[in-house]
Symmetry: C2
Subunit: 308 residues, 2 copies
């Protein structure tokens, strides 16, 4: 799957992933009204509104980008009904040829990590049969528990030809509280980065490994160090746009070949119509605003990293 | 809810939580057969088998212990159907008067952490109404992202009078890879422990704070240090039984009043009937084996910590 991701990035000339993190306040009123008219102001109603909203965005951007990244928390908050919208979104994105990065930030140990890996990326056995639970292509994983937590994901990835992105240096202001603390003179995130490189060496695709890393666009200097520390690692870069990262901040995350990173934008794309810049589209053409925002983002990033 | 947990521990004289981590291999054949006869070897069938199995255990132990701890990964691996069994289990446990610690190990930042907190502990707004998604009493949370990831949970806990347990030192063999690394001469887990103490000081119950900690029974020496570092923190202690922790290892996790910790056992209780010691119960009386295993665990722990 890492090969497929790299190929799609090249083919579409788009090292970009659209974060599908629907919040109710982003969803156009007419979509909410339609869903509530049918299901009432219920969890089912919220789920239907989310699904309709996502579908519109996917239809508008699937030919431009290689991947989408649904943030499962935004669905999980609506309980089982919300997770139905998550699954429908995931299936529909794949139907449209998009690679799905499940932003689940799971992480546990042994058989529990295995269960997460199986549920999100693999297949689970039921009697003599097997089934895929959520069936994403990649998942994000938290490293705090060490190798015991990561290895079961790697085993499933190897079997299913899928991948993970391990949190190394996150984009938030307080990420340094633990991640930046110095250990033998080097910050914790570097040690995690080294482990990511090591884990990845056991499961290489053609150019990049099955084990990617998450490094926030808000920390370009650290991105530069981590890029060198993990040469075969694809870096998933959140924090562009709404969180403050700009095109010029992104160069350090890429290898000299212009590959090796994929930049996420969520709010900046899916709620583009709420920005002054794209207000002319209005809420009924929110999809078109999202499409324009993707085109602008591609232009910004490709210019910054020197791609045509 | 932390007050309620402490009161129930005292009332039942049981600083013990039963981990509801159902794996198919633990579920008696007759339960699997009955579920598969009705639903086939499908995800629905697995979900039904898990639910029946859990119900039997809850019925057998609810008067002995204050709480259960369902591990959501074991349900999530069966996708949406598995999560239905999770929700049914959670609701049923509460119906039987048990406190539910959702072992979800979630952790993200800002509005995303808020969505997890709302989904698992709080209420989500849909138009003019609000709904509880999963409605657990406590949730486990991963600290790697720092305060930005924890604060939204604390806000929801304060509003709903619920609580969290933050991963400090996990029970697995490789937990030391990052958690034990020295920062200014002290291991990372101590720094996390200090933050837990600090986060907790802003939301105190009567004796203990809303912010608990997870510290593995497999590391009693570290437990001793952390116990002193976080005097107002309830410690959730996994790793007893199947992972190797024994009664005598648990003393350091308790305060001198015999409170301040709650010890989890999963496999050792729910699959007790598969152990030689409890084999006489047979799989059809698996619940009775689980009950006996709880009684034996209570006796072991209360003896070790000097409670009657």
């Amino acid at each position: 799957m890492i090969n497929q991701l790299m190929n799609e990035i090249k083919k579409k000339n788009a090292p970009v992933v659209v974060g599908l993190d629907p919040m109710m306040k982003y969803i156009p009123q007419y979509i909410q009204k339609k869903a509530f008219d049918t299901y009432g102001e219920t969890l089912e109603g919220a789920s239907e509104a989310i699904w309709e909203y996502n579908k519109g965005i996917i239809d508008a951007i699937y030919d431009l980008v290689p991947a989408v990244k649904p943030q499962i928390a935004m669905y999980e908050q609506f309980g089982l009904e919300g997770l139905k919208a998550y699954k429908k979104t995931l299936d529909y994105a794949k139907e449209k040829g998009l690679i799905v990065i499940a932003d689940v930030k799971r992480g546990d140990i042994g058989s529990t990590s295995e269960a997460y890996a199986v549920g999100h990326l693999g297949k689970v056995a039921v009697g003599s049969r097997t089934y895929a639970g959520f069936d994403a292509d990649f998942a994000t994983v938290n490293p705090y528990l060490g190798s015991d937590g990561i290895q079961p994901f790697i085993d499933v990835c190897r079997k299913e030809k899928k991948g993970i992105f391990v949190l190394v240096k996150t984009s938030n202001p307080s990420s340094g509280e633990f991640q930046d603390r110095l250990i033998d003179g080097r910050p914790l995130y570097e040690l995690v980065g080294e482990m990511v490189d090591q884990w990845g060496s056991s499961c290489m695709g053609d150019e990049y490994s099955y084990v990617g890393a998450v490094v926030g666009a808000t920390y370009p200097e650290m991105g530069k160090v981590l890029r060198k520390l993990m040469p075969k690692t694809c870096i998933l870069v959140p924090g562009y746009g709404a969180q403050g990262g700009t095109g010029k901040d992104l160069l350090p995350f890429f290898n000299p070949d212009g590959l090796g990173a994929i930049v996420n934008s969520s709010r900046g794309i899916i709620a583009a119509y709420q920005q002054e810049k794209y207000a002319k589209f209005g809420e009924t053409c929110y999809q078109d605003a999202s499409r324009q925002a993707v085109l602008d983002m591609l232009s910004d990033i490709n210019q910054a990293i020197g791609r045509k």
